[in-house]
Structure formats: C-alpha cells, structure tokens
Amino acid sequence: MDTSLILTSLRDNLLTPIPMCFALGIFCKLIHGGIKIPKEFYYAISIYLLMSIGIIGGHELAHEYHDHGVSTIWKPALATLVLGCITPIVAYSVLRYVGRLSIADSAGIAAHYGSTSAVTYIVANDYVNNMGYKPDAYVPTLVTILECPGIAIALVIGAIGLGMEKQAKASESGGTMAADEESGGSIWEALHEVITGQSLMLMVGLLVIGFISTLVMPEKKFEVFKEFFYSKNQIFRGALCIFLLEMGLVTGERLKDLLKVGPFLVAFGILVPLVHGFLGAFLGHLAGMNLGGCTILAAIVSSASYIAAPPAVRLTLPQANPTLSMTAALGITFPFNIAIGIPIYFWMAKSLGAQ
C-alpha cells in the first residue's frame, strides 16, 4: 500500500468522466459560465438514481436472501445501525466542544453527517467495481438503514441541548419564562418528513419492489428492468455525469461561502469524515464484509446528507444556519470524498485486512 499506489488510484479515480463532470461544473461557476441544468432535469435524474439504487439493491438482496437467508446480512446491518448512532454524537461533540458552535448549529450539522449521501454511495460503488472488488450484495440495504437514525439522534441532542440551555437561562434570570413552543416543529414531524421523504420512499419502495419481483418473476423477465436501471451501467453512469455536472454548478456557487465558514469547518469537513470512514471500514470488517463492501460502508458513513437532512433540520432547528451545514456537506466533504476520500477508505479497508 505505498504512496504510488494511492497516486495511481487517485488518478484512475479523478481523471474519469464522472469526477471531471463535477469539476467542469465548479469551473463553469468560477468563470461565470452559462451551463444551466433545468431543475426538473436534475430532479428527474435524482429520481432515476434513487429508484436504481433501490430496485437493483432489492434484486441483489433477493438473491442473497435466497442463497443465505439472513445469516450474512444481520451483522453488517447491526454495524450500520451502530454507526448511524455513533457518528452524529462524534460530529456534535467536535462541533460543540472543539469548534464552539452554537447548540443549534452543532446539532444541525451533526444531523447531516449522521445521515448519508446517495451519490457518494454510487461513486464508491463504481470505484470498487472498477477496481475489481465486487461489494457484498446487501450493501444498498445498508444505505437505506443509514439514512435515518443519525438525523433522529442529532435532532434529539439539539432539542435536549436547547431545552437545557433555556432552563439554565431561566434559572439564571431567576424568573419563570414561558416556554416558546411555537418556534420549530416537533421532532416527530421532522422524522416523519425524513422517513416519508423522497429519498427514503423511493429507495425503500423500490428495494421492496425489486426484492419481491425478483422472488416472483423469472430472472429473464426481470432482465429488462435491470437493463434500464443498471446493467452494464450504460444509462446509469451517463445520468450520473449530468447529475454531477449540476452538483458541481451548485458547489461552485457555494465555494465563496467557504471563506465565510472559516478554517474550523473546513478541517471538520475533511477530518471527521476520515474518522467516520475508519469506523465504517473497521466495523464493516468486523461484521464480515468484503473489501468492496467495507470501502463502500466507510464511504457512506463518512458522507454527509445534503438532500434528506436539510429540510428536517430546517423544520426542527430553524435557528441553525443552513449555509454552514450545506457548505460543509456539499462544498467540502462531498468533493473531498469523491476525489480523495474513497481511495483512502479503500486503502484503510485493505490495511485492516478486508478482502
């Protein structure tokens, strides 16, 4: 695992159409270029990508289930759940006690880092497949498991923290301040929003659909759906190019916010994912996942949500500044993971002995 290998893998990872489309998007914004992807096109592609993750994941899960029952999957599922609980706590602690951010901002950002980014999953999946290490069949299921709990825990931490702060202030001022219930929706509302939100509904819905129809339909008839949603990656990767172009445009627009958020958040957006990634690779390996699987688990654990988390945080912790979390998640961690993180997680998993 020497440096030259990392460099080669970096080059093989970076100089391919998908990351370069992301770079083109950023570049275009920097020179005030005119690429404009209609929002509806972007949404259409993201619907397609989420459905693809779901149905293909369900399809492979059905094969795994058919062959091994739940014997291979329960440990990785448990590991993922544990990771979903640890990461928001790690993130919150660092933000609040090292970075000295406000309770709301710390919890808000922690919610993003406790959840996951579907595009990071896709790129990591492509990466390990390209390296020739087919990941375990149940990995897409882990993505759906990871989506929710981290957001829930971070929001609860935020609510408790704000409650205690208010009590502290109230007892300080000696008076009895009336609780201001109106500000911010309830956590249950926010969780309902996440669980029934577009990402989870489409991924879980199509996972179930893929699972059931694989068990019921003859393999040959399922083929056409596999073709459309994944096989040979044709449409899938092409769509990803366009998707990342738009992500690059959005990121480029937000790059100037990097200056505003300050060096702490930049360091946070790089170092905490590395820690989370290591935890992911480690627990994944303990749970018996293969090299491809461990790498992907590391990548998704390290990644920060920028689709599911923002509206939930906005609803429950409106005081949290969305610029901070979006800049960290989309402007720092996402490109870091795409460009450098994934090869590092691969190397971590390999060093830990995953095969």
């Binding site: 972007y42 906005r314 979006m326």
Partner: protein, 101 residues
Amino acid sequence: MQLHTLKKVTIVIEDNLRQSLVKKICELGATGYTCHEVQGFGSRGARSDPFANNVEIEVVCAEPVANAILTFVAHNYFENHACIAWLMDVQVVRGSRYVAS
C-alpha cells in the same frame, strides 16, 4: 361589473415550508390560495438552486384574515427563514365568495 374590495396577501418563502404554511393559511380562514415557484435574492443570499428555492403564495381574503396570516408569518418565519410578505388592495369579482363565514 360588481367588484368587492378585498386584501391580497403575497408571501415569498422557502419552498419547503409551502405545505405547512398553506395548511395554516386555510385554517386561518382563507378560502383558497394560488402559488408558484420563484427564484429570489435577499438578505439571506440567492435562492435559486435545487437545494434552495422559494415559492410565492397569493391569498385573496378579507382584512382580518390577511392580518392573521401576516401575523402568523411574521411570528414564525421572520427570524430564521428566508421570507418577505406584503399586502395590497384588490377589486375582486364575486368577492363575497372569498370571505369565509
């Protein structure tokens, strides 16, 4: 043409608040609303990408309802959300329809 003078409230706000706000608007006594997506720029920066855009909501209603809506919006959204709201007089055809009894 018989016209009623009513108020029209216009609210420009973060799109993800749309659903809960329009529900509230109807609870506050409006008989309907009309809305469409917009892009915007204001003190909270640009709101024009898929992760952050606005909606403009128009409500034709009687003055008390208009006041209730504006008070609700000001109290709940002004501090932490991208939002602007204004009021104007409009001459409405068959206006009595839009005054809930």
